[in-house]
Subunit: 419 residues, 2 copies
């Protein structure tokens, strides 16, 4: 299905027509005369590449607001784990759909997820028409029997994941080094290399994690993961707040990437701000994530990038640090590079993952600088239209099936809490 976006503004100001064919941008011109199956009116809107959400636990939307403002241990052990133990595949399906709905409404077409019930998440992603790098939660708690089961299950998921392409890409999701054995990490490293799979792992999130690694392995988390052969351009480490300068040098050398989750880091009190200065100094690739809805509680990438830019300025004591345009590009173009999605820009040949932003709002007045307005003055509600791989998934803020998704997710969450 071809799409023609008529008369849309590019951020630099020119008004253009964009022709989309086979899921890619095929033409950008002042006046496109080709016939499309569908025409989208771009008047008064600006076209931008869609956001990529680098770290999520999508179905945790079901637990939004269930247990906030609690000490970490109580929150996790008494509340979150207690609920998670009762989750069903059907819960996951509706929770993931709710997350996808929320992400579409916030201009996100791709997300990097780690959660339970892989196939139910995969079905939800396909049904919503977005894209997910989905990993199961690989946890063995240093138990060889569990490790064996996890490996088997991951091989099986990998084999049948083909059928969910292109919306879903199977990834490996070792939870964290305090919940996955060294042997399993080595298997993951090898399996990732052999099949060119992305690895998605929590990394250097908290002081406790660093301490655990030091005590068990006599190394920092990054040093330890390098020794297991896990660090490469296929590795995305979520958080990275506790990285040292030596760690940063290793990440740079191994070409691993980081995902910065500023809202979650503050809300869960991980104790340190993402080391923006250090990460820039070593030119480590990084983009942004919302994390799951139990620690954010909103899947809004514009809220996340504003906070990232503010924290970067504050923590480096430099108001010029992480300026608007760079912040926006990290959440889009740079994220596209990290997830090997090709050129992620409004350019001929790029994947047609495009958002149209409605500029007719008070917060876009006077609109001296569109990047500044998007990063510092806007939130997800300014997104009017979302196109994912050449398919319109939202237009005029309407997403097909949204009422049913909210109703079913609401019911699933209430049943879960009462179960």
């Amino acid at each position: 299905m071809d799409i023609l976006i008529k008369g849309v503004r590019l951020p630099e100001g020119q008004v253009r027509d964009i022709f989309i064919e086979d899921g890619r941008i095929d033409e950008i011109s002042a006046a496109c005369t080709r016939k499309a199956d569908r025409t989208v009116d771009g008047a008064g809107k600006v076209a931008l590449p869609a956001f990529i959400n680098g770290h999520t636990h999508a179905a945790m939307t079901l637990m939004r607001g269930y247990a906030d403002d609690l000490p970490l241990k109580q929150w996790l052990e008494e509340k979150i784990w207690a609920l998670e133990a009762k989750l069903t595949g059907e819960d996951i399906y509706w929770g993931t759909k709710l997350a996808c709905l929320e992400m579409i409404r916030n201009g996100i077409t791709v997300f990097n997820d780690m959660y339970w019930f892989w196939e139910d998440s995969a079905r939800a992603v396909c049904d919503m028409g977005v894209r997910g790098f989905l990993s199961a939660v690989f946890i063995d708690m240093f138990d060889p029997k569990k490790a064996g089961e996890q490996i088997e299950s991951n091989i099986e998921l990998f084999r049948m994941a083909e059928k969910y392409r292109p919306n879903v890409v199977f990834s490996l999701g070792p939870h964290a080094l305090y919940s996955v054995s060294k042997e399993s990490l080595r298997w993951i490293a090898e399996f990732s290399r052999k099949h060119n799979l992305l690895v998605h792992m929590h990394l250097s999130e908290s002081g406790d994690e660093t301490l655990f690694c030091r005590e068990k392995y006599g190394r920092s988390p990054v040093e330890f993961l390098e020794e297991q052969g896990l660090l490469s351009e296929r590795f995305t480490g979520a958080h990275g707040c506790w990285l040292s300068a030596d760690d940063a040098a290793i990440l740079a050398r191994t070409k691993a990437s980081l995902i910065n989750n500023p809202v979650s880091n503050l809300k869960l009190c991980v104790g340190r701000i993402f080391p923006y200065g250090l990460v820039h100094e070593h030119a480590i690739p990084y983009c942004f994530g919302t994390d799951g809805c139990s620690s954010n509680n909103h899947l809004d990438m514009m809220e996340t990038i504003k906070l990232a830019s503010l924290l970067a300025k504050f923590s480096t004591n430099d108001p010029t640090f992480l300026p608007a345009r760079e912040t926006f590009e990290r959440a889009t173009t740079e994220a596209g590079r990290i997830f090997a999605l090709g050129t992620w820009e409004i350019e001929v040949g790029s994947s047609a993952d495009i958002i149209l932003i409605d500029l007719d709002r008070p917060e876009f007045v006077p609109n001296f600088d569109t990047y500044s307005d998007i990063v510092y003055a806007a939130n997800g509600y300014v997104v009017d239209t979302v196109i994912c791989m050449g398919r319109v998934v939202m237009e005029g803020r309407h997403v097909d099936g949204e009422e049913q998704i909210m109703e079913r997710a609401r019911r699933a969450a209430r049943d879960l809490a009462a179960r």
Copy 2:
């Protein structure tokens, strides 16, 4: 004009009718049978007290996005001051209207402002039907001649401010202790006492300010202001990031209040996070502000309170700190106390400053806890209806005259930058 809000939810879950008469909540009942001039449908919405924005420079909306990501000195001297020198009363009128429009859309009915061209701001506030504590920017740069002019001008404004009541309350706005002489501060303290006027001042915002005060007066800013007799329950100090424990004790003793502006503090790199722990320990009253649009750049109190709660948790290393309900209440009920607006709750006798929030959105699913959802998952776009002093200023997200305001403000800003 009487208003009846039919079948609206209160945050605790009950569905009620709210009858508004003479600008106050007159009845809250399960089924109100009185006839009103106007009926507002509350179905699917929750009623809450409106937000109060504790620190603004409203007309700086005109400079939104004009100069971001610059070093502080360059930003202020080359960009902001250069534009401000060219401002006209007409610019201020439209810039303030744009700010009011944006604040209404974000559920704010009262704001505490400090800016140039007092009367033009006052006209804008009245025309928009909201409420402003407006102060002129009192700056004398230690020049006795300027001080005399400022005093004269403030007396004159005070005299004619009556005619802008009840929407506008005249306040005194000594800019900061590095821009106002000791003699002027003493006059302000005395004039505030005599006429029961609010004092609105930047306080302990930056390390430079603290250093300046130490060098010039041998005291901390708070110690110095106490000696000038300026600290009382009429004093609202914006920022307070650099307060010491001794300062906190003085503020508590004198019953002065603070306004926390988390977005601005991070964006401008003031070097420290608001000392939430210290301020709570001394039970200093405080609420929240957005600051002006050059250092935020969005007048969204929901965005601001989420960040405040996150920073409070992070900086105290305590995830239970500034929980959702307390955060919300500081932005409403506590702010109402600080600005002497009476009981600021959904209660009989309270001022009818009410917002209705539309719950039918993905980010309010599953809605386990309305306060948590509002503070951690929402932004200003969830506000559907706004009532200020018993008058509907927005319904179904429509504000009368919004197109004209955007158009005129857009033009004023472009003219200003080109002037």
